[in-house]
């Protein structure tokens, strides 16, 4: 027996490392990552092919902006799976015993999925540049960069907001299927239907407003309201539930 208990030198760093590792050490997580990357690459190839068929230069800025759509859908799903996995598989029986400060574990999950989402986007951007450059050399067509920084910013925002909203909802609901249904309903049903009944209040209630204002500017109060409703409140509920829920 050790006799002396030594603290883990950097508990949050260690927990982030473990969470990052958990994101890629199962077959299902690797398949999800592969599917996301494949979807991104297919979009890139399709974009390049359409540009070539029209004899137009490849617009990198537009290509990256188009990638924000799968990022906005895929990022919440990845974070939902990461946040709820321990509860679904009862792995928290093990990890809560090793780190009784459950808030540290939840924060580590948030950080891990954010890093993971951004890294995935970075890879897809790199692939986009590589495919475009290769195609350009092969067909002697031009590459247009346009407002590249704006498109990269859009991609980063879509990814980070997607990760955070997925993580917040997942930590509040603690159920993979419930959280996925909630996020899909929020994105594809609620945001559309609320416009029919809420009138001028619509941007204050829509979940997409926060990302839209961050990337294109607009009503800051509406963005704050959207962030509070769809990220902050679920996040606070999630922190409270994760810290207090009995593992039975």
């Amino acid at each position: 027996m050790s006799g002396i208990s030594s603290p883990v030198s950097n508990p949050i760093g260690v927990a982030v490392y473990v969470e990052m590792r958990k994101l890629i050490n199962t077959r299902s997580s690797r398949w999800l990552l592969f599917s996301m990357t494949l979807l991104g690459i297919l979009m890139i190839v399709a974009f390049v092919a359409v540009s070539a068929s029209r004899n137009e230069p490849i617009d990198m800025s537009m290509m990256l902006a188009a990638l924000a759509l799968p990022a906005g859908i895929g990022a919440p799903i990845i974070s939902i799976l990461a946040i709820t996995s321990d509860w679904q598989h009862r792995d928290n029986v093990k990890f809560f015993v090793l780190q009784p400060r459950r808030g540290v574990l939840l924060l580590a999950k948030y950080i891990a999925v954010a890093i993971f989402g951004l890294a995935t986007m970075l890879v897809i951007c790199a692939v986009a540049f590589a495919v475009s450059a290769g195609f350009s050399v092969f067909t002697s067509s031009d590459i247009m960069f346009g407002s590249l920084s704006r498109s990269v910013w859009l991609l980063v925002c879509a990814t980070l907001v997607g990760v955070m909203s997925g993580a917040a909802v997942a930590s509040a609901l603690l159920s993979t299927p419930l959280a996925i249904v909630f996020v899909l309903f929020q994105s594809f049903v609620f945001d559309s239907l609320i416009g029919l009944v809420a009138g001028d209040a619509t941007p204050f209630l829509q979940s997409a407003t926060f990302t839209n204002v961050l990337t294109e500017g607009g009503n800051a109060a509406a963005a704050a309201s959207s962030a509070v409703i769809w990220i902050l409140i679920p996040c606070v509920i999630g922190i409270w539930r994760n810290r207090t829920k009995d593992v039975v």
């Binding site: 050790s2 590792r21 050490n25 598989h89 792995d91 015993v97 090793l98």
Partner: protein, 306 residues
């Protein structure tokens, strides 16, 4: 330097799972923790692990509450649920993640897998492991941090004969090295052969807490007469513990005392007796059977209030 539970209580809705439960486990000892299904054993062990919060009372490990331990895995190891591992991870990866959380070197992973006999199964996914192998994996995780305390919930489930002997030897060795073990099990004959103390709970309450050597000296008397309720009332008023909660008014009464003492009390109170019989207690199992109710044991608040 003990694991101490002081008056802990826990309810789920109107079900009182654990009620003012107290006991402790000292270094170098193995404490058996037994009780019927639903008596509150697993809830108690989960409260020690901080997975479930007690409504009242305190639990300390070497004087500190669990949540204040710097690196809990180096103080106390738990085997609570052999199925609580992601089925898609390999056995080795499962232990590696645990080691990373505890800041332990990777060499420790191989050493502990070797010690529980899973070195050759390290690459296998958890879903492909038998229950016995998952028990060994869980024990590997419990032992990983070289802790001073072990809390084991039904660790023998799914183990074969060789596995049982190995488990028993491992637990004995751990205690001999100065560790404290708290182990719950339904295999009473097995448990009796290696525990030092036994805590029996029923309906969320400790009904016996004694060293295994003292069990032999316990006397149980079966008593009967035409006025059973009067016999119960008088004996309880005299501080004699009923060995078993009566399940119907027609059952004979068992009490934790000698026939001589019981007879003297009933004679003094003028109560007619038709049977006064010393029941032999030859084993932990017979002692346990005398003390506990055979029914599903959790008791509701409303039931308790009657």
């Amino acid at each position: 330097m003990t694991l101490r539970l002081d008056n802990i209580s826990k309810s789920f809705g109107n079900i009182k799972a654990v009620h003012e439960l107290s006991f402790s486990c000292a270094p170098g000892t193995i404490t058996g923790f037994i009780g019927p299904n639903g008596s509150g054993k697993s809830t108690t062990l989960r409260m020690i692990a901080g997975l479930t919060r007690p409504d009242a009372g305190s639990i300390t490990i070497a004087g500190s509450p669990f949540h204040e331990l710097l690196n809990p895995g180096e103080q106390i190891g738990f085997l609570l649920d052999p199925s609580a591992h992601h089925p898609g991870r390999s056995a080795r990866e499962t232990v590696t993640l645990t080691a990373a959380m505890m800041g332990l070197p990777i060499q420790r992973v191989d050493a502990v897998l070797e010690s529980v006999g899973l070195a050759s199964a390290g690459r296998r996914k958890v879903r492909s492991l038998s229950l016995g192998m998952r028990q060994r994996l869980s024990l590997a995780i419990a032992l990983l941090g070289d802790p001073k305390y072990l809390v084991l919930d039904e660790p023998a489930n799914g183990l074969d004969v060789e596995g049982m002997s190995w488990l028993k030897a491992s637990i004995r060795r751990f205690a001999a090295d100065g560790g404290a073990v708290l182990i719950s099990s339904h295999l009473l004959n097995e448990l009796e052969s290696y525990v030092d103390r036994v805590v029996i709970i029923d309906r969320g309450r400790v009904i016996s807490n004694s060293s295994i050597g003292d069990l032999g000296g316990t006397e149980v008397t079966e008593v009967d007469g035409p006025h059973r309720s009067e016999i119960r009332r008088v004996l309880q008023a005299e501080g004699i513990a009923l060995a078993d909660a009566p399940h119907s008014a027609n059952e004979r009464i068992s009490v934790m005392s000698s026939p001589e003492h019981v007879g003297e009390i009933l004679w003094r109170n003028g109560i007619q007796v038709s049977l006064l019989h010393r029941k032999p207690l030859e084993s932990l199992e017979s002692y346990y059977s005398e003390l506990t109710s055979p029914e599903f044991a959790a008791v509701s608040r409303t039931e308790e209030g009657k």
